[in-house]
Amino acid sequence: MSLLLQIFLAFATLSLVAVGGATAVLPEMHRLLVVVHGWMDDATFTQLFALAQAAPGPNILAASLMGWNIAGLGGLAMATLGMLLPAAVLAWYVAGATHRLRGARWLKPAQFGLVPIAVGLIGASGITLARAATTGWLTWVILAISFVFVWRTKYSPLWVLAGGGALGVALL
């Protein structure tokens, strides 16, 4: 089997178990890429994941970076497609199913029942990010200002991200 096909299949498998996104499949991604296929070593895997975290965009893009490291542009394309395609196809069909069921009186409350889980998990990822990002009083101050700004105002959060970055350069 060609390397590119193997990359596609490895990430397509991950895609279908990645409930909750990239962080959820991190251990399985490590097992497949480092242990099973031996495509990279431990240190490279960790560095690539950290780099993907530092960049903007969905964390799942770590997969694209891994693909690139394994086999250049072709690897990037296969890893990205593999990671996104199965999940996207499934989401498409689920959206179609809910559209057909829209008259059913249990559908709205059923969907609303999932809402607190989504909100709770966003809160949890915020707390996880906070643990990694707070290394001293200044980072706590940045976090607190950002929290209050985003919570209490409707201005674009870009201002606090830029401000946080500027404070970091000035004082950290």
Partner: protein, 186 residues
């Protein structure tokens, strides 16, 4: 909050490109800001329902939501535009970063800048969860489900698969039960 407007195809793509490019520390907070507050494509509740379904499906929840939201407004073209908008920008940035990685990791200014952004992003994500919770006003039993999910993921570090598949049926059941009690079948 109740008035929403349908985005054109271009707006859909550009809106998603913005969410992707600005989404430090994950895209969920920006996605909500752009879709609910800035452009009003969906109400808080519609957005949260789609995100909730995106959460129980495999793949990134915001990515799943981009397929469903794109489809809702412009069918297959919409789903493709929203999804490609979400990924193309950050993918380009990421490749640039990877090319510069050796210099990038060494430069002290860049490291402190990213560190400051990371702290601000954490505050932003926590505030987003609080804001959604406040605007949606879920009944007490669903608030309990949300807090359970938060504690299980952030403090107990339980596997996400376990959290989602044990809490989803309970949340659905509680929510349907309440709806039928408040408006009994004719």
């Amino acid at each position: 909050m109740s008035e929403t407007r349908t985005p054109t195809r271009t707006e859909l793509f550009l809106g998603y490109a913005k969410m992707g490019l600005l989404g430090f520390g994950g895209v969920a907070a920006w996605s909500r800001h752009v879709i609910v507050e800035e452009r009003r494509w969906l109400t808080e509740r519609e957005y949260a329902e789609i995100l909730g379904m995106g959460q129980i499906l495999p793949g990134p929840n915001v990515g799943n939501a981009s397929v469903m939201i794109g489809r809702r407004f412009h069918g297959l073209v919409g789903a493709l535009l929203a999804t490609s908008g979400l990924y193309i920008g950050p993918l380009t940035v990421l490749m640039g970063l990877a090319l510069l990685y050796d210099n990038f990791a060494e430069a002290p200014g860049v490291a402190s800048f990213m560190h400051g952004i990371a702290a601000a992003a954490a505050g932003m994500v926590i505030a987003t969860a609080l804001k959604m919770g406040q605007n949606l006003r879920p009944p007490p039993e669903l608030i309990a489900i949300g807090i359970t999910a938060l504690v299980a993921a952030a403090f107990l570090r339980l596997p996400l698969l376990l959290i989602v598949f044990s809490l989803a049926p309970i949340g659905i059941w509680l929510s349907i039960r309440r709806a039928y009690r408040e408006a009994p079948a004719k």
